[in-house]
């Protein structure tokens, strides 16, 4: 990859919570390096607690790594970069006291977008996720899937080059998840956003990703990277193809081993 085609460069990042020797000390992430290309969708999967969400927060500047550096579009990350990076979180992160429209507007207020531009951008992003009719609804009046669409609309309205998604569909049921996955794929084919997508669903990763980074058990590090060579927007038929099954099974094999290790590890922790 040439330097200009790299959107995110992660070099030797490691993270630990608490000081060594402390009872609550946790090594979440060890020596991780990864280059993510512009316009790429990369999925991070791994056993729970492998540090994939931690890595996402570090990339987005919400956490500082204990070791190593991250560069986003050639700039060293030292804090949140609202103009370059937008987040979609797993939990409902919409402000419950604001309507969907106000939520989207507020994101742009925080980002510093001029008033004149905000309304048009908000309308465009609402249309992109198909929520125009629900602009005046409060989050509590929406279903879980619609809330995550609204959160996605808010992130899109920020018009950042990079989107970091932390298990955005994790709390949704299987059907809603599938639909949103397909919509996301369509959406991506129209933009050239770079997306880092954390998930624990093998199917979701296979369906969405250009590359899937598989993490090893805690302290996590990237174990293998699997490429998914299939153009966006991906069709529902892709799910039933032999290619899909093969990649999914490959990921399953890799992950299974790591999950077993995690279980053994936690078992060992329980009996000091």
């Amino acid at each position: 990859m040439t330097p200009s085609s790299v959107a995110i460069r992660i070099s030797g990042v490691a993270h630990q919570f608490g000081e060594p020797g402390d009872a609550r000390h946790v090594r979440a992430l060890r020596d991780t390096s990864l280059d993510i290309a512009r316009g790429e969708l990369i999925c991070l999967i791994g056993p729970s607690g492998c540090g994939k969400s931690t890595l996402l927060n570090i990339v987005g500047g919400l956490m500082s790594p204990t070791d190593g550096t991250v560069d986003v579009l050639g700039k060293r990350v030292t804090g949140p970069m609202p103009r370059e990076v937008a987040f979609v979180f797993q939990e409902n992160a919409l402000f419950p006291w604001n309507t969907v429209m106000e939520n989207i507007d507020l994101g742009m207020v925080f980002q510093g977008v001029a008033r004149a531009e905000r309304a048009a951008r908000a309308r465009r992003s609402l249309a992109a996720v198909g929520l125009e009719e629900f602009a005046q609804h409060y989050p509590a009046q929406l279903s879980g899937g619609m809330r995550q669409r609204a959160a996605l609309a808010r992130a899109l309205s920020l018009e950042t080059g990079i989107l970091l998604m932390d298990e955005p569909f994790g709390a949704l049921d299987e059907q809603t998840r599938m639909i949103l996955g397909e919509e996301l794929s369509v959406l991506l084919s129209r933009t050239d956003k770079t997306i880092v997508f954390v998930t624990h669903s093998l199917g979701e990763a296979t369906f969405l990703a250009d590359r899937v980074a598989v993490f090893s058990a805690r302290p996590g590090a990237i174990k293998t990277i699997i490429a998914v060579d299939e153009p966006h927007p991906r069709q529902p038929e892709f799910v039933t193809s032999a290619k899909f099954t093969e990649i999914r099974n490959q990921l399953y094999g890799l992950l299974h081993e790591e999950i077993r290790k995690t279980m053994a590890h936690t078992g060992a922790e329980a009996t000091p």
Partner: protein
């Protein structure tokens, strides 16, 4: 992380101690150096002396006995009537919907307003304090009894019934354990506001009791002694409240 937490807690304690010390020092300086009228702010040393004298001489016993006697009587009445009334109301959804709003509405009125009526009806002696304390304590106790017994999870009762529980067993092993924690909270609230209203009504219109003593000293301009009594009463109230809270906690987690 943990050492930092400990340091934080120590620092908080230090700030709290400093705050209290600063208050006492300001009080002392105000009373002795800055010439604040001793009728408004007596010397803390004199207050401490009087406090000690009150404790040693035991002169507080009579007033304390009056106040505690009123409190005991008022609370006994409030607790028994409140539980019975609450239990009776809780026995059907219909009664709950009929009477719970009534209790809640009366509870929203500052019942201290009725003190003049109670004084008129029951005189200046302990009877008016007991009646007022009982009235005020009644409502939280009755409301929490309704809440405790009226909203027990139906599944729990069905399960007990399906296992062949008798009426008594149902009450003893399903209803009561479910209702008790909520009732105890109501009892504590009832106790606290009964105490408050009794001291209040002693302050406003009475012949004896701790509240009355403070007013007498205020009218006699015996400031140091009055402050000493205020500290004494606040301490008694704090002890009583701590005691009741401890009992409540114990009743909830036997």
């Amino acid at each position: 992380m943990r050492p930092a937490g400990n340091e934080g807690r120590l620092a908080s304690r230090a700030v709290q101690a400093a705050f209290v010390v600063a208050l006492v020092v300001l009080w002392y300086l105000g009373a002795t150096r800055w010439g604040v009228n001793p009728l408004l702010l007596p010397n803390p040393v004199a207050v401490l002396g009087d406090f000690w004298a009150i404790l040693i001489s035991g002169e507080f016993i009579d007033d304390l006995r009056v106040t505690l006697g009123e409190l005991a009587a008022a609370f006994a009445i409030a607790a028994s009537l409140g539980t019975v009334a609450g239990y009776l109301v809780s026995r059907s959804q219909y009664r709950i919907r009929a009477f719970e709003p009534l209790f809640a509405a009366v509870y929203a009125i500052p019942i201290i307003l009725f003190l003049p009526l109670y004084v008129l009806l029951f005189g200046l002696g302990p009877a008016s304090k007991i009646a007022l304390g009982a009235t005020i304590g009644f409502f939280p106790i009755a409301l929490s009894t309704v809440a405790g017994f009226g909203y027990v999870d139906k599944v729990l009762l069905t399960a007990a019934r399906s296992m062949g529980a008798s009426d008594y067993q149902l009450f003893r092993y399903a209803l009561l354990p479910a209702a008790l924690p909520i009732m105890l909270t109501g009892m504590r609230m009832g106790f606290t506001i009964a105490l408050l209203s009794i001291i209040g009504s002693e302050t406003i219109a009475s012949l004896a009791g701790l509240g009355h003593r403070i007013v007498q000293l205020a009218e006699g301009m015996e400031m140091a002694r009055m402050f000493a009594y205020i500290i004494f009463v606040v301490a008694i109230a704090a002890i009583l409240n701590a005691l009741v809270s401890a009992l409540e906690a114990r009743g909830k987690h036997p």
